[in-house]
């Protein structure tokens, strides 16, 4: 019960079971307000489950979730969510999708549209405001999703492998754009990925989860790479390589263990 003041999200001994299957067990995790924290772990270990718990989309089987010191019941109203899968409203245009959050919150149509247009420009989609998601590339859809979750200016952003479906180059651009947004308007970010390089390049702290079932936090690593970071070159910096080797040694064991359990 310490440091709750500065914690945007705190998981207190959280266990989540799906019927007889225990996905995560006894997880303690504290995310400092304004921090960018990455969660890595083998596939199926419970990363999405962790984010869904923080979002209030599912409730813990045991333990409790706190948001800015208050225990969470129902949806986390201070958080935005970028989903692993495509989650845009297919029947709304780019403009309609980006303005949706404001409209839901009762912002007047005119103003919502004006602010959505600003975001369209910010994520580089000028000229596509009247396009439907089906007419966009995967990278463009992710840009829409990013603008959609940022426009309502949530204090916390939960991101579930948002870029994992993109090619390497598009991904690098999106990561840079994300860091720019985050620098311009600092929010607490909980960023799930299976890619350790991505986690390292973006985060202040990397949390490694163990292989499922009954996944737990194996270790947490502070990432002391200076900011602003230039993602194009960061992977070749010696300090990055050191950190990578160090954390990978741990993550590798979990990945191997998850292979064993699968076979």
């Amino acid at each position: 019960m310490h440091g709750t003041e500065s914690a945007a999200i705190r998981l207190d001994n959280v266990t989540k079971r799906f019927a007889a299957y225990t996905a995560i067990q006894g997880i303690d995790l504290e995310v400092r307000a304004g921090a960018f924290v990455s969660v890595v772990g083998p596939s199926g270990c419970g990363k999405s489950t962790l984010l869904n718990l923080a979002a209030g989309l599912i409730a813990p089987s045991e333990g409790a979730v706190f948001v800015f010191g208050q225990s969470l019941y129902g949806l986390n109203r201070r958080a935005g969510f970028m989903f692993q899968q495509d989650a845009l409203l297919a029947w709304k245009t780019v403009l309609g999708n980006i303005a949706a959050g404001l409209r839901f919150r009762g912002v007047h149509a005119r103003e919502a549209e004006a602010r959505a247009r600003e975001w369209i420009a910010r994520v580089g989609l000028r000229g596509f405001s009247d396009a439907f998601p089906s007419q966009l590339s995967g990278g463009m859809r992710k840009r829409v999703a990013m603008a959609q979750s940022w426009i309502v200016d949530p204090d916390i952003l939960l991101m579930d492998e948002p870029f994992s479906a993109l090619d390497v180059h598009t991904r690098l651009r999106m990561e840079s754009e994300l860091l720019e947004l985050w620098t311009a308007s600092p929010k607490t970010v909980l960023f799930v990925t299976h890619d350790l390089e991505e986690a390292l390049a973006l985060a202040d702290e990397v949390v490694v989860l163990s292989a499922g079932p009954a996944s737990r936090v194996v270790n947490r690593y502070g990432i002391d790479l200076p900011r602003p970071r230039h993602l194009i070159d960061i992977r070749t910096e010696p300090r990055f390589a050191d950190l990578y080797r160090h954390i990978w040694a741990q993550l590798k064991e979990e990945v191997l263990r998850s292979y064993e359990r699968a076979s």
Partner: protein
């Protein structure tokens, strides 16, 4: 688009030729006495009859009645189908309770309902509309039901995280998702609405295209029967074409 149009043109020509060949051989066979004119009429006679109907304006009131019945049947059937499909999908326990009865009703051949509706609603337009409604309702009902249950839970969660209230969720996510299914069955349900009201007219009425056909049949006027059928087909095709355009516009967000 241009390329497609230029590739389309020849097939349209072929289609016209096929039609001309069929009608031509029909005409020739009757003229040669191989087919009895009394039973088979003749394309030229049918065409002349249609022209006469159009010239004297005899056909319009009948056509107007049929279209009015079909439009009302469609509107009432679709609206009640959307509401019930939606309601039962949102209230799964109630849905499970009434599910076998809905299937039971849907299994009924509609034609057998026509005499009952005649008794209940009389010879006027409402007995035909009722028949049309029983067809349209079930098509729209099942599609709406499926559409609501088919909605991607991730999209629902996204809308909720963006701050959507229960009603906004219905309005911005569930209804559009369900309407996709309803629209994609629009031309089927409109076509069936037309057929159902014509059957209703045929079985008992004083106006409408179905009435025309049954009257002609009553006096062994095969030309009149064929002319009625031709008018009906042309109208159904025309309406179907319009609905197709509408559907393409409404679902323009689909890939």
């Amino acid at each position: 688009m241009n390329e497609r149009a230029s590739r389309r043109l020849p097939i349209a020509v072929w289609q016209a030729l096929l039609g001309a060949a069929l009608l031509g051989s029909w005409q020739a066979l009757v003229n040669a006495g191989k087919l009895d004119k009394f039973f088979f009429s003749r394309p030229s006679d049918v065409a002349a009859r249609i022209v006469e109907w159009l010239k004297t304006g005899f056909i319009w009131p009948h056509l107007a009645v049929t279209l009015e019945e079909a439009a009302l049947a469609f509107t009432i059937g679709a609206a009640s189908g959307v509401v019930c499909g939606f309601g039962l999908a949102r209230a799964p326990r109630l849905g499970a309770l009434v599910d076998p009865y809905i299937r039971l009703l849907n299994a009924l051949p509609r034609v057998v309902l026509a005499p009952i509706f005649l008794l209940w609603f009389g010879l006027g337009i409402w007995s035909k509309i009722a028949l049309g409604v029983t067809v349209v309702f079930f098509i729209v009902f099942f599609n709406t039901h499926q559409g609501v249950r088919d909605v991607d839970p991730v999209v629902v969660n996204n809308a909720r995280m963006l701050g959507a209230s229960e009603w906004q969720l219905v309005r911005h996510v569930l209804i559009p998702s369900a309407l996709t299914w309803v629209f994609s069955s629009l031309h089927i349900s409109i076509g069936f609405a037309m057929i159902a009201v014509v059957v209703g007219e045929y079985l008992g009425s004083a106006r409408g295209v179905g009435y025309l056909i049954s009257q002609a049949e009553g006096v062994f006027d095969t030309t009149g029967v064929f002319a009625g059928m031709a008018v009906l087909s042309a109208v159904v095709l025309l309406v179907g074409w319009g609905v197709n355009r509408l559907e393409r516009w409404l679902l323009r967000w689909k890939a």
